[in-house]
């Protein structure tokens, strides 16, 4: 296990290097002179020269790349061209907002998806099964930005049940220490604010979680169907265990590995989808941070934002890989 963990960590190195090469290249692959593109047509030659100086664009490529990597390793993600702030500090509240949203969406996707999948498998070919699987099929095909817009229209604008924009009531801002509003509000003892923040999470969280939920439901169903046919399941049933015990303790435990794989892969969908969801719901997360940077041609922010999201994705998949052997001791590396 330890050897595997170490090997898996070592395998990360080329991936991380490759990722940094790609994000590094973003600015260099801009057609034409990057500084000119960033500053626009009317920029003076002095302004262009000074920006080139600031971004170090005059150095040879490998020196630039060396500086870039050295910076990242020291936690320096560069300076935003628009706000002139350090990206590594600026990014933290956005990052926390995205993590909060993603975790909420993932919890929603897993709870609903796994249970729908289990019931579908247990009552195969029932009305529930058909309905759930049709919903899952439609869910996979749904553009999440459209689902988000529809939810906003129905639940926020027409029914007025839930807030459609932002993370909290703008007139009653949350005092932040960790940038996770659900935690900060508890630290501050403001449970009314906690409830508001929670309500703000619901619509974007469900919009973001729908595709993973659908995929998890389908995976759980097919994985459970396979397990339910096994002899040991018949034994458990014959023993007279309660249905609940049979399904959840003995059945799902054995069906969990493929489900876990899907969950790991879906975090990528979630992190990518966060960008769309955050745009629609004005959620101040890292996706929106990058999106706004694209509009402002703030390339250092684009580079670092993308690098941070991709690194998160890679680390999550690492954790999932390592979890396999913990959950299923039969898997040996």
């Amino acid at each position: 296990m330890l050897a595997y963990t170490i090997r898996r960590l070592l395998m990360l190195i080329p991936v991380l290097i490759g990722m940094s090469l790609i994000t590094f290249s973003i600015i260099h692959l801009i057609p034409g002179n990057p500084a000119q593109v960033i500053l626009g047509e009317q920029a003076s030659p002095q302004a262009i020269a000074s920006l080139e100086e600031q971004l170090g664009l005059n150095e040879p490529y490998f020196v630039q790349y060396g500086n870039y990597v050295a910076g990242i390793l020291q936690g320096d993600l560069g300076t935003s061209l628009r706000t002139r702030g350090e990206i590594s500090t600026e990014i933290l509240p956005y990052l926390a907002a995205t993590i909060e949203l993603t975790i909420f969406a993932l919890i929603f996707a897993v709870i609903v998806g796994v249970n729908a999948g289990i019931i579908s498998a247990w009552r195969q070919n029932s009305m529930f099964d058909y309905t759930a699987m049709i919903i899952a099929l439609v869910g996979v095909s749904m553009p999440i930005f459209w689902l988000g817009l529809m939810q906003q229209w129905v639940f926020a604008q027409e029914l007025g049940w839930l807030p459609a924009f932002g993370r909290a009531n703008p007139r009653d801002p949350v005092e932040t220490t960790t940038y996770f509003y659900l935690i900060d509000t508890i630290i501050n003892g403001r449970f009314d604010q906690w409830w508001t923040s929670f309500k703000h999470l619901i619509l974007p969280g469900i919009a973001l979680g729908t595709i993973p939920m659908a995929i998890i439901a389908r995976m759980t169903r097919s994985s459970m169907l396979e397990v339910l046919r096994q002899d040991y399941m018949r034994t458990v049933e014959a023993k007279g265990s309660k249905t609940f015990t049979v399904i959840y303790r003995h059945g799902f435990k054995n069906a969990v590995i493929p489900v876990l794989t899907v969950v790991g892969l879906q975090t990528g969908t979630l992190l990518g989808g966060a960008l769309l969801t955050e745009t629609i719901f004005s959620w101040p997360g890292i996706g929106r941070y990058v999106y706004e940077a694209i509009g402002n041609r703030d390339y250092p922010v684009i580079q670092s934002g993308i690098l941070v999201i991709a690194t998160m994705f890679v680390l999550i998949n690492l954790v999932v890989d390592l979890l396999y052997s913990y959950i299923d001791p039969r898997i040996k590396y």
């Binding site: 080329p14 692959l29 553009p143 229209w153 994705f313």
Partner: protein, 304 residues
């Protein structure tokens, strides 16, 4: 000659309904076709997709308005006999725009998938067949590309190339290359061990010939399944980029773009948002249903 041999070894036994004549047997493709015909969902999916192809092809004949014909007097009017799906904020007929949007989505999907399939298969075959450092290099590149959430990589590519429909298409093709590449690579590696490849090698066949005549035909099934599912994904990704303003630009009737242009009118004129979104969902659903059916038909092992 080897082809015949290969066909026989790969051939699953036929069902009992027909007594076997000589050594002849139904090709796996024909069998898959029969399987597929029995799958109702796949047939429904096929009908949906054919429907969209049909309206896209017949666009000039079934629309009564022009794509960008603005009519300020009729802006944001609801669905009626004149405007089936209503009009948008500049009085353009939404039905017409959706029909022409179908052309765009299908073309983008087609070229993005074809491009990804071509380059992905090529790299996958090379990696899987030659192995060693070539495989190492190509596989690591795939790993790195897959380390990015796909839409994010597409955004990064568009951020470099500049926002346009063409660049969105290129970006979508690129992000899908490793998906095809990995699939083909793993298939090639398993095929490489087969005896008929060894036989072909022993006969002194050139690598390129073996690749084209033996390895590629035997990897087509998973490629076709992935291409069908990928078609839907590519359409979704193109719409997402259009929605973010990174794909098709303003007057183009691209569905994602139409959504983002109309989103501020959702309360007063919900049809402006409803119909483009429904179209995206339906066409993607169609491709997903066919893809699922094809997977069950072509790859019995993956059947759930």
């Amino acid at each position: 000659m080897e082809t015949v041999k290969k066909q026989e070894t790969k051939q699953p036994m036929q069902g009992p309904e027909k007594p076997q004549k000589k050594v002849e047997s139904i090709s796996p493709w024909k069998e898959a076709y029969w399987q597929l015909r029995k799958n109702k969902l796949a047939i429904v999916g096929l009908c949906i997709v054919l429907f969209f192809i049909l309206i896209a092809a017949l666009a000039p004949f079934i629309t009564t308005h022009t794509v960008s014909g603005m009519n300020a007097a009729d802006r944001l009017t609801g669905p009626s006999s004149d405007y089936w799906f209503g009009t948008d904020y500049s009085g353009r007929d939404i039905f017409t725009r959706i029909v022409y949007g179908a052309q765009i989505s299908l073309i983008v999907g087609f070229f993005a998938v074809t491009g990804a399939m071509f380059f992905g298969s090529l790299l996958g075959i090379v990696a899987g067949y030659y192995g060693r450092w070539v495989d190492m290099l190509i596989s690591r590149v795939f790993d790195i590309m897959l380390a990015f959430p796909s839409i994010l990589l597409a955004i990064a590519i568009v951020a470099m190339l500049g926002p346009s429909l063409q660049n969105a298409l290129i970006a979508i093709a690129i992000i899908n290359i490793p998906i095809f590449g990995r699939l083909v690579r793993s298939k090639v590696i398993s095929i490489r061990q087969e005896e008929y490849i060894l036989a072909a090698k022993a006969q002194g066949m050139k690598s390129s010939r073996i690749l084209i005549h033996h390895v590629l035909p035997n990897s087509t099934a998973p490629i076709i399944v992935q291409a069908t599912l990928g078609f839907g994904v590519a359409i979704l990704e193109a719409a997402a980029l259009g929605f973010l303003g990174l794909g098709a630009q303003a007057p183009t009737p691209e569905w994602g773009r139409m959504l983002s242009d109309s989103r501020q009118y959702i309360q007063s004129a919900p049809w402006t948002v409803l119909f483009p979104g429904l179209s995206i969902m339906l066409v993607v659903l169609g491709f997903n249903m066919i893809g699922d059916g094809l997977r069950d038909a072509l790859d019995p092992k993956m059947k759930s």
